[in-house]
């Protein structure tokens, strides 16, 4: 009757094709994957950053006892970085991950303090913030001294050149992460729950199809859809908002590989939710428990370094934080996948945990 042997590949691809068509026609998938991230990009690209921290590298030779340093220490926006070598600091300065390097010298003669500041073109705006903070301090210190006496401190500035780090370079990778997160968690949870509840999967089981083909087919469709969405977001960001792609196509490909890895992990959360949800109305709250903390705490909108320390510990445990960090390194610093092994390792740990739970909680019927 069936002269040809049964082909699992054919069955898998048939499911992938059906699922892909279905996703394209589902309004919520398109809205979450494309519309929301693009709206956020447009809005945030225009209003600029909130929760600003100016990262100031402190040179090893810097005087930290004098009044200038103490005054700077009490300014909230200033975040001192003291644990990097001189060379790292210089590198980071030209990349813009450090906004300035400060080196205060105590002099034998007057003025008592010379403040050497190196700014970077890579972070012009934050440099300006520090500049105004310093001139404020300078004014206060010198005014406190005797009238007509020479000033207590002077400021010497230099500016290194570097690639300009635009806000879009920060916001776009975060939005990409958000798009992948919601597509992976919500999409997967909804699809598998509704296929189970409407007995579509049961009907599938009356055919010779394997369970692995069903999961794989669905995964292929979702990854294909989300990567097309990611590509679209990257291209819109690049051509309309000047998003930096250091190595062009190679950078885009690296970003897509990272997206696929992130998506596979987030789909695992989706499998778990589809297993424990009783009906479709319990999917959104459960999904929000997974997505909201990551949405807010993983550096999607605000840099994690703007958070208080205790919150940073939580942020640094979340998978999206590491996906976002890896994405930014690849996009802006031109890192290859081999340069983000730290992030990939943490994502791998998440992968193992999530799928260990998913295998236990997933239900077919």
């Amino acid at each position: 009757m069936n002269p040809k042997p049964y082909s699992n590949t054919k069955a898998t691809l048939a499911i992938a094709k059906a699922s892909f068509r279905s996703i394209l026609r589902s309004p919520s998938a398109v809205v979450f994957t494309l519309a929301f991230p693009l709206i956020f990009i447009v809005v945030f690209a225009n209003i600029g950053g909130g929760g600003v921290k100016v990262d100031v590298g402190v040179a090893k030779t810097c005087d930290t006892i004098g009044p200038v340093y103490q005054a700077l220490k009490h300014v909230n926006v200033v975040n001192f970085i003291r644990d990097q070598s001189e060379e790292d600091m210089k590198n980071n300065l030209s990349k813009g991950t450090i906004d300035a390097i400060i080196d205060i010298k105590k002099n034998a003669a007057r003025p008592a303090y010379t403040v050497n500041v190196q700014y970077t073109k890579a972070s012009g705006e934050k440099g300006n913030i520090l500049r105004s903070v310093l001139s404020n301090i300078y004014y206060n210190i010198n005014n406190g001294a005797q009238v007509n006496s020479p000033p207590q401190a002077e400021i010497r500035e230099t500016t290194v050149s570097g690639r300009e780090y635009k806000y879009i370079d920060f916001i776009l990778p975060g939005q990409l992460g958000f798009s992948i997160l919601s597509s992976g968690v919500f999409g997967t949870a909804f699809v598998f729950l509704s296929l189970r509840l409407t007995l579509v999967i049961k009907r599938f089981f009356a055919t010779p199809v394997k369970r692995s083909s069903i999961v794989l087919g669905e995964a292929i469709a979702r990854i294909a859809f989300s990567l097309l969405g990611a590509l679209f977001i990257i291209l819109v960001g690049h051509y309309l908002f000047g998003f930096t792609l250091v190595h062009g196509v190679v950078t885009v490909l690296n970003m897509l590989v990272l997206s696929a890895m992130g998506l596979i992990i987030f789909m695992g959360f989706g499998f778990i939710i589809s297993g424990i949800a009783k009906n479709e109305s319990t999917v959104p709250p459960l999904s929000n428990i997974i997505t909201m903390p990551q949405f807010l705490l993983s550096g999607t909108f605000f840099s994690v370094s703007a958070f208080p320390k205790w919150l940073q510990y939580i942020s640094n445990a979340l998978p999206l934080t590491h996906l976002n960090n890896a994405m930014r390194k690849v996009a802006f610093e031109g890192a290859g996948l081999g340069d983000v092994t730290h992030q990939l390792l943490i994502l791998l740990i998440w992968f193992v945990i999530v799928y260990a739970v998913a295998v236990k909680t997933f239900k077919w019927e």
């Binding site: 069936n2 007995l199 599938f204 009356a206």
Partner: protein, 254 residues
Amino acid sequence: MAKQPIITVKNLVKNYGDFAAVKGISFEVYEGEIFGLLGPNGAGKTTTLEVIETLREKTSGEITVDGFNIETDKNSIKQRIGVQLQAAGYYPNLNLSELIDLFSGLYGIDKTPMEMLEKVALTDKAKAKYKDLSGGQKQRFSIATTLINNPRIIFLDEPTTGLDPQARRNLWDLIREIRDQGTTVVITTHYMDEAEVLCDRVAFVDGGHIIGIDTPDHFIDQLVASGFERKKEVKLANLEDVFINLTGKEWREG
């Protein structure tokens, strides 16, 4: 035609935890017949079907389908049967031809959607979504998906429940056509008039047991021979005949 069994069920038992849904059922379905499983809700009809369809594990008993053992040859059986489930849905957002494409892939068989839709007179609905079909069209489409792999046997679980008289008779014609082309049909129903005109043989199931298997004619003759008489005199037509006569017998989609 020699009566060749195509399905053999021996002492089938199915327990759900402490609850015994099927308590030792035995029967045979012959090749090329329409076999009806009749009985009240909760009698164990659907459970029995789903065990034969390889969708549920049996607790004990022996089942052979087209020569294959249900325990050792699930996949060979799946390739030889077509299954219509009670109240099963279809993949969301797809139209009928895309759904047929999907099932062709699942069965690993190349069938064009039009070829299948033609068999159930739904070619004009090729671009429609399943949820937008009428009750009768939905059932016809479900039957189309069971025929994709040229099955030896198809299982229909309450296919006519909720249909209007025209759609029901229309479905009977379709089921007879399928039987006449050599496919064995196993069907469950609550309508005795349907079983009487459609089924070659029926089994009554109650409380997890089979309480009788025979042709509808025999059952009726036996009852009459035992002295049973209907309270009301039987007329040459019934109200459904009147309904069909008044509203016309052409295919209507309601």
